[in-house]
C-alpha cells in the first residue's frame, strides 16, 4: 500500500533518534566500562574486567546500590498506597470535583524538581517548618536532627515528587474500566468492596505495574534528592556515578556502575511485562 520510499522516510526520524541518543551513547559507555584509569589520571584503552570486579569486591558500591533499591522500593510502595486511592477516588467517586482534583494532582509537576527538593529542605531542616511546629506545640524540646539528611528525607521527598507519576497510569487504567462492568458486578450481587477486589483492581493492574515501574526506575536513578536532603547516610548509587564522572575522574568505573543499573532496570521492565501478562490473562 505504501511505497518503500515513504516507509523509509517515515522510519528515518525514530531510527536516527534512537541511534544518536541511545545506541551510540550506550556503546560508548559500554566501551568505557572495560577501560581503566592510569596513575596519571588518563583513560587507558586496555580492555579488562577490573571495574566490574571492583564493583563486586568493594562493599561500598553494593551497600549503596542495595540502599538505593530499598529506597526505590519504599518510594514505590508509598507512591502506590498514595496514588491508587487518589486515582480510584478521582475516577469513580469525585463526580463534579474530578477536573479540579485532577489539576491539583498535576500542578506540582509544573514546578521545577529543584524547587520541590528545596522546599523539603526548608520543611525538614533543624530550624525548618516541621521542627518549628513541633516545638511550638511542645512535642519536642529541641530540633529533631534526623528529619533532614537521612534516607527518610530522601524517601519522603521522592515520594512527593514521584507519586503523580504513579497516579497518572493508574488513573488512566481506572478510567478505562467500563462502568457497565461495575454495574454488572453489583447486579450479580457483589458488594462495592467485592466489586473492587474482583473487577476494578484486576482490570487496573496494568496501570499499577506501569506506575510502580515509573516510581521505582525514576527513584533508582535519582541523584538530586539525596544531594539536597540525603546527607551522608542518604547517598544513592547515582551520586556515586556522578562523582566518578566528576571529581573522582574515574569514568570507566562510573560506566560500569551505570551499565549495571541499566541491566537492573531492563530486567525489571522485562519482569513487569511478564507479570502483567500473567495477571491479566487469568
Amino acid at each position: 500500500m505504501y511505497s518503500r520510499a515513504y516507509k523509509a522516510s517515515v522510519a528515518i526520524p525514530p531510527v536516527l533518534w534512537v541511534t544518536v541518543f541511545l545506541l551510540v551513547p550506550y556503546a560508548i559507555l559500554f566501551c568505557y566500562s572495560f577501560w581503566s584509569v592510569s596513575s596519571l589520571q588518563t583513560i587507558v584503552h586496555n580492555w579488562n574486567l577490573q571495574n566490574y570486579l571492583q564493583l563486586v569486591r568493594n562493599p561500598i558500591y553494593l551497600t549503596v546500590l542495595f540502599r538505593s533499591m530499598r529506597i526505590a522500593g519504599a518510594v514505590t510502595l508509598l507512591a502506590l498506597f498514595l496514588g491508587y486511592p487518589l486515582a480510584y477516588y478521582l475516577s469513580f467517586h469525585a463526580a463534579r470535583r474530578k477536573e479540579l482534583l485532577y489539576q491539583l494532582v498535576i500542578i506540582p509537576l509544573w514546578a521545577s524538581y529543584l524547587v520541590r527538593g528545596y522546599a523539603w529542605k526548608t520543611i525538614l531542616g533543624s530550624d525548618g517548618v516541621l521542627n518549628g511546629f513541633l516545638q511550638y506545640l511542645h512535642i519536642t524540646q529541641r530540633p529533631v536532627e534526623f528529619f533532614l539528611y537521612s534516607p527518610f528525607a530522601v524517601v519522603l521527598t521522592l515520594t512527593h515528587i514521584y507519586t503523580p507519576f504513579t497516579f497518572l497510569p493508574i488513573y488512566a487504567s481506572l478510567e478505562h474500566v467500563p462502568r457497565n462492568l461495575v454495574e454488572a458486578s453489583h447486579d450479580l450481587g457483589a458488594s462495592p468492596w467485592a466489586t473492587f477486589r474482583r473487577v476494578i483492581l484486576p482490570l487496573s493492574i496494568p496501570g499499577v505495574l506501569a506506575g510502580a515501574t515509573f516510581a521505582f526506575v525514576l527513584t533508582l536513578g535519582d541523584f538530586l534528592a539525596p544531594l539536597l536532603v540525603g546527607g551522608a547516610s542518604g547517598i544513592m548509587i547515582s551520586n556515586i556515578v556522578v562523582s566518578l564522572f566528576g571529581a573522582a575522574y574515574n569514568w570507566p568505573l562510573g560506566a560500569a556502575i551505570s551499565l549495571c543499573m541499566l541491566l537492573i532496570v531492563v530486567g525489571l521492565l522485562f519482569a513487569t511485562e511478564r507479570l502483567e501478562r500473567r495477571l491479566t490473562l487469568s
Binding site: A184, S185, H186, L188, G189, S191, R198, V199, L203
Partner: protein, 367 residues
C-alpha cells in the same frame, strides 16, 4: 415473527398477584424529567416488554428496577417488600446488558459463576449450576474461553446464562438483541421466548422494536416521553390502541379525522356506522382491514356496517403475500391498504372496510 406468534397463543395467563409493583415513579436528570409518574404491575412468570422510542425513558425505568439509578418520586415493591431503597447488589433481580458487559479478565465459566460466588453459594453447588446454565444457552463447549473470543451472539448467550444462573425473581433485559444482525436476532427472539417459558422467570424486556415486542411479549407497556401510553397484550394494543400514537407506533395505521353524528362517522369521502359519543373523533384503521372489491357490487344495498369508498391507486408496492397500496380518496386524503396480492391494479378502484375495524383513538400521534 410467525413462529413467535403461534407461541404467544400458548402463553400462560399472568397470575393475579403482582410480583413487581412500580408506583408513580418519577425520575429527573437535572431538571429534565425522564419519567413522569409511571405505574406498572408485573405478574410472576410474565414476559413484559417496555416499548418506546429512544428518549422515552424505558432504559431509565429498567435501571431504576435494577437499582443503578435513584428514584426522585414514587416507589417500587417486589413481593410485598420495598425494593427502591435497596442497593443493587441486594435486589433479587439480574440484568442482561445491551453491551453484554462480560468481565474481560474472567473466562466464560468464571463469568457465569460470578454471581454464585458473590452470594457465597455452596462451593459444591457452583460447578453443577454453571454447567447447567451454560448448557441451557448451548454454550457448554465454551466454558474455558475468554469472552473476547466469542461472537456477539455467543456473548449474548453467556450474558443470559450469567444472569439466569442466579435464579432471579425478575430478569431485566436492556435491548439485549439490538447489537445482533437481523437473522440472528429473530433466532434469538424465539430462543429467548422458549427459554423464558422453560425457566418460568419473570422477564422485563426493553426494546424500541415494536415487531420484537409483539413477537415476544405477554404484555407490552408502551412508554412515551416518560409516561405510559398503554399497557396491554400485543393483540389488544394492536387491535384497540388507546391513542393515535399507540396505533402508529405499534404496526402501521391510517388515521381518519371524522365527524360523528347520529351514529354515522363521516370522514370526507368515507362514511360508516359508528356508535358512541358524537363529535370530532380520530379513528385508526389498519391497512390490512381495507379490502379491494369488485366494482359496483353491493353499492345498491345501503349497509352502513361496511364502509365503501372509491379511490385512485397512487402507488403499489409488491410485498410477496401482501401488496401495499396507496389510495388517493380525494380531499388530499391518502389511505394505505395491505391487500393479499391482487396482481397489478391501477386507476380508480372500489374499496371497503368493516365499520368495527375503525377504532376510536385519542388524538396526538407522532408527526
Amino acid at each position: 415473527m410467525s413462529i413467535a406468534q403461534t407461541q404467544e397463543a400458548q402463553a400462560r395467563p399472568p397470575s393475579p398477584e403482582p410480583l413487581l409493583s412500580i408506583h408513580e415513579v418519577v425520575k429527573r436528570f437535572g431538571k429534565r424529567p425522564v419519567l413522569r409518574g409511571v405505574s406498572l404491575e408485573v405478574a410472576s412468570g410474565e414476559f413484559l416488554t417496555i416499548l418506546g422510542e429512544s428518549g422515552s425513558g424505558k432504559t431509565t425505568l429498567l435501571r431504576l428496577i435494577a437499582g443503578f439509578e435513584q428514584l426522585d418520586g414514587g416507589d417500587i415493591w417486589m413481593a410485598g417488600e420495598r425494593l427502591d431503597p435497596m442497593p443493587p447488589y441486594r435486589r433479587p433481580v439480574n440484568t442482561v446488558f445491551q453491551s453484554y458487559a462480560l468481565f474481560p479478565h474472567l473466562s466464560v465459566y468464571e463469568n457465569v459463576a460470578y454471581g454464585l460466588r458473590a452470594k457465597s453459594a455452596a462451593k459444591t453447588e457452583i460447578p453443577e449450576r454453571v454447567t447447567q446454565a451454560l448448557a441451557m444457552v448451548k454454550m457448554g463447549d465454551f466454558a474455558q474461553s475468554a469472552p473476547a473470543r466469542l461472537s456477539g451472539g455467543q456473548q449474548q448467550r453467556v450474558a443470559l446464562a450469567r444472569a439466569l444462573v442466579n435464579r432471579p425473581r425478575v430478569l431485566l433485559l436492556d435491548e439485549p438483541l439490538s447489537a445482533l444482525d437481523a437473522n440472528l436476532r429473530r433466532q434469538m427472539q424465539v430462543e429467548l421466548k422458549s427459554l423464558q417459558r422453560e425457566v418460568g422467570i419473570t422477564f422485563i424486556f426493553v426494546t424500541h422494536d415494536q415487531e420484537e415486542a409483539m413477537a415476544l411479549s405477554d404484555r407490552i407497556a408502551l412508554l412515551r416521553e416518560g409516561r405510559l401510553e398503554q399497557v396491554a397484550e400485543p393483540r389488544e394494543i394492536y387491535g384497540h390502541p388507546f391513542t393515535a400514537y399507540a396505533a402508529q407506533f405499534i404496526g402501521q395505521t391510517n388515521l381518519l379525522d371524522a365527524e360523528v353524528r347520529d351514529g354515522i362517522a363521516n370522514a370526507g369521502a368515507i362514511v360508516w356506522r359508528c356508535f358512541g359519543l358524537p363529535g370530532k373523533i380520530v379513528f385508526s384503521l389498519r391497512p390490512e382491514c381495507i379490502r379491494l372489491t369488485v366494482s359496483g357490487s353491493g353499492v345498491d344495498a345501503p349497509d352502513v356496517s361496511i364502509a365503501r369508498f372509491r379511490g385512485r391507486i397512487r402507488n403499489q408496492t409488491f410485498g410477496g403475500a401482501m401488496d401495499l397500496l396507496e389510495i388517493d380518496c380525494g380531499n388530499s386524503q391518502v389511505l394505505r391498504a395491505r391487500i393479499p396480492s391482487p396482481g397489478p391494479v391501477s386507476g380508480e378502484q372500489d374499496f371497503e372496510f368493516s365499520a368495527k375495524d375503525a377504532v376510536r383513538v385519542r388524538p396526538g400521534g407522532e408527526e
